[in-house]
Symmetry: C2
Subunit: 526 residues, 2 copies
């Protein structure tokens, strides 16, 4: 190898940094196309890596209580805070992030670690989580049952998406480690540079017990074929990949638990009462544009479908277009740039393809079905997609409800009345999140009843919280993350509820004396 060859990112498995054979993928700068690093996990011993995590990491984590594990998580956050400046530069170079984009990813990861460090502290010296009050089972009062959550004994495999190399890594690891379950994280190859840098720092700082956290840079190969009944897979990515994981014979055969966060065609809904010129209408416009442009629209929670009353369609379209056309697109290293490229040329192709499919049933308000031409940027090497707003021609449009464009694109759809709005929102087939903008509180409450079952999260924006809310696309660790149907039926975060994935719910039937002894070792989930 000559000295100018890009660095290969090593994997941290079985307690040591390991180099795979050859090159499986190149990591590039999506502005210049320059190769920044390569990854390969070829010929690495995944079975040994999993065994090491189970044999060393699990017992070490479970040997200490919740509060002590919470301190470990806090120490990880401290290491990341100390190295934050380096991470930002990596995110700009490898992910095409603006500084704002990078902050969402990096600080989102650190914030989630800190949140679970605080929350874990409240669980003190307990061994279990207590899920329920004791229940009577028979006439005899001395025989009852409690429900405990017992930490799983296996290893967690965290398969992360390319859009959040920091947040995706740490939101999964924080919860897994707090539960006492060791994790092997596999970042998406395209943007693994940041995950690798962070894990390298954490390992070098020696703040976690051996085997508690592994990192797999490269392809996952046959790793899933070495998992057993005690192990957990937490996956974030496309529903196609999710289906392949779920239907893998070894996963089905051993009943490996699989949690999925997948495609989601999220909606924003402007309520019938929200008139142009009101703070609520403005909050709607601001949020749709923010969701389209932050991280160049590469968020699984981003707004893809924008529902407005038919009578307000022109006003809403104009207001959105006015803001979008003011968005400066280009090299995120430039101070005036508000939106960078998508992460790879493959993602650019996929996004433009999706835009083309939706556009067949829509008209363009902003953007086209082609990549934009930008000053000083080579279109043959970069991967930009312009902010693209479409408007569905009529209610017969289908692709808009079925195609997730993972880029800065959204489509306006009109509705005739409340029932029509709720029916159309549900056509997404299950989503992570929807946001509703209006000041008629009865309407907002009805909306929760009518579209709640199709979502994992709802953000209801009234004028009184227009400036206070945390955003449609921002996943707060306090709140449930995961949606039904197309979104994968996953359940992550949501405070202590997030620990469920790494615990087995077990009913214990026995004497009230035994149950009292167990309750003393358990912290209440609620």
């Amino acid at each position: 190898m000559n000295s100018s060859a890009p660095e290969q990112l090593e994997s941290y498995l079985a307690g040591r940094w390991q180099r795979g054979a050859g090159v499986e993928a190149e990591l590039t700068d999506p502005v210049s196309g320059a190769v920044l690093a390569t990854v390969s996990a070829k010929e690495l011993d995944f079975a040994a890596a999993l065994d090491f995590a189970r044999r060393e990491g699990g017992p070490a984590l479970r040997a200490v209580n919740f509060a002590e594990r919470a301190k470990l998580i806090g120490a990880v956050a401290d290491v990341l805070v100390a190295n934050r400046a380096r991470y930002e530069a990596i995110a700009v170079a490898n992910s095409g992030n603006t500084k704002t984009d990078a902050a969402i990813d990096i600080d989102g990861g650190i914030g989630t670690l800190k949140y679970y460090a605080r929350l874990g502290g409240t669980l003190a010296d307990k061994q279990f989580l207590l899920d329920d009050k004791p229940v009577r089972l028979a006439k005899a009062e001395n025989y009852q049952a409690i429900h405990l959550l017992a930490p799983r004994r296996g290893v967690a495999v965290h398969i992360n998406a390319f859009n959040f190399p920091s947040w995706g890594l740490w939101e999964k690891a924080a919860v897994s480690l707090l539960a006492g379950v060791p994790a092997i994280a596999k970042p998406a190859s395209a943007t693994a540079l940041l995950s690798h840098a962070m894990v390298r720092d954490v390992i070098a700082a020696n703040v976690l017990p051996a085997g508690a956290l592994g990192l797999l840079c490269g392809s996952i190969g046959d790793l899933l074929d070495h998992l057993g009944a005690d192990d957990v897979i937490a996956f974030t990515g496309s529903s196609d990949t999710a289906a392949r994981i779920r239907s893998r014979p070894n996963v089905l055969g051993h009943g490996v638990l699989v949690n999925v966060e997948a495609d989601s065609i999220n909606a924003a809904l402007l309520a019938p009462d929200a008139a142009p010129g009101t703070p609520t209408f403005d909050a709607f416009v601001k949020e749709v544009v923010r969701e389209m442009t932050v991280k160049a629209g590469q968020k699984c929670t981003a707004i893809r479908r924008v529902f407005v009353p038919a009578a307000r369609a022109d006003a809403a379209t104009e207001a959105l277009a006015a803001r979008l056309t003011r968005t400066t697109v280009g090299d995120p290293r430039r101070e005036d740039v508000r939106m960078g490229p998508v992460v790879t040329r493959a993602q650019q192709d996929a996004a433009l393809d999706g835009i083309g499919r939706i556009a067949a049933e829509a008209t363009f308000v902003c953007g086209t079905k082609d990549a934009p031409k930008l000053d000083g940027i080579d279109p043959a090497k970069s991967s930009f997609v312009a902010p693209t707003l479409m408007r569905a021609k009529d209610a017969s449009a289908r692709a808009v409800h079925e195609t997730e464009v993972f880029g800065p694109a959204a489509t306006i759809l009109t509705y005739q009345d409340e029932a029509d709005a709720f029916r159309q929102v549900a056509r997404g087939g299950g989503s992570l999140v929807a946001s509703v903008y209006g000041d008629d509180r009865d309407f907002l409450a009805r909306a929760v009843g009518e579209i709640g079952a199709f979502h994992g999260r709802l953000l209801m924006v009234e004028a009184s919280i227009a400036d206070a809310h945390t955003g449609h696309g921002i996943v707060m660790p306090q709140c449930h993350h995961g949606g039904p149907g197309r979104a994968g039926n996953g359940e992550e975060l949501g405070g202590l509820n997030g620990l469920r994935l790494y615990h087995q719910r077990v009913a214990v039937q026995g004497s009230v004396e035994l149950l009292a002894a167990l309750q003393a070792k358990a912290a209440a989930v609620h």
Copy 2:
């Protein structure tokens, strides 16, 4: 068709009784081999059946509140109570049940309906379930989040196992109906006679709204290919069938939620302190024999592996053998018979095959690898399996941990010390239930910590509750039912927690005023 042809059991779909084409399966008396009825669902319109449930059943159920749906469930129980005598005769004829076996199935179903009718009454006039206290998300105190459970808008498909044509049907239907989700139940063909008779009575009594409950007698055909993101599959049966359901392209493609209760190689563990002659030792012997013989061992929760301290192996073996040899096997219509046949000759073949595989690494204490010869019963037409107790030759035995014999068979394994016992129990790869018998409460608490993660339920028997407990294999509606890994990772029953499968957890972020309005419409799960 001549008058002597057996009755074809019709399906109740799209609000009417429908007859399939031809014959898909014959239902027999497992003592005589006589054909009692046939089923076929060929050429029935499953898409229309599902649409009817979604269009008619769902809205009708959700138009009334929890307390009103609870009354519907209570009315179903009343219909079944009124017809109970007929059901017992069917269970004896079609399932080979003794009266005791039939009571577990029939009264278990009625009892679960009554339990959820009572529990649903406590939810009063609420629309949602409230899963959590409000949580702060930002500095602003007027912006917070709550977690609601919102009832799903689709239809539930309940695929039941042959061993509980009553309990399996109603434990699923009770929870689904209380949640406001219409259900189509598909009983296993071999024993569908009882499910059919019960649903026929309930429909004739007109106690449920149209579309709330359907019945599919026959093969499921392409029904699962018509399900969408809002629908739910709840399956009980073999892990092979579960894997086929889970990997079906339409199920994966739409993210249809699947709950599985599958194979389980459950354990009983005699604690080191439980000496022969003590009430706890006696409770152990009694429970193992009961689990082996009740319903001829055809319970997903039955004890398959019996762990005893090496020093007590002979005493335990003798005590179990003494009781087993007193079990009278034969035609369950005879008053002196304590155990009948398994349900079909195919099940007999499967059970004997499993016994043969385990016996290759074990010795027989009671029973053999062949079907028993019984007075007055034709071995070529009946499907009996003798109570079969084996003892593993040594710790290298594997088949005993991996083979579920769905019949009256169990295997004794010895352990050297506590750690060895816990390790061996875990080799089941995830089970529905284990029971532990001992009076050393510290040991019992440690056992919960060590084997809890591998089970959905633990029964801890001390002398003080030896006569009061509800049994290793009896699923109480108050308690979680479902186990990790091989057992399918399902979650059923467990009081209000059972409603989760039919609800979507949704975080609602909004103004404290809106959240208060929603809380007023929600009943707390905890």
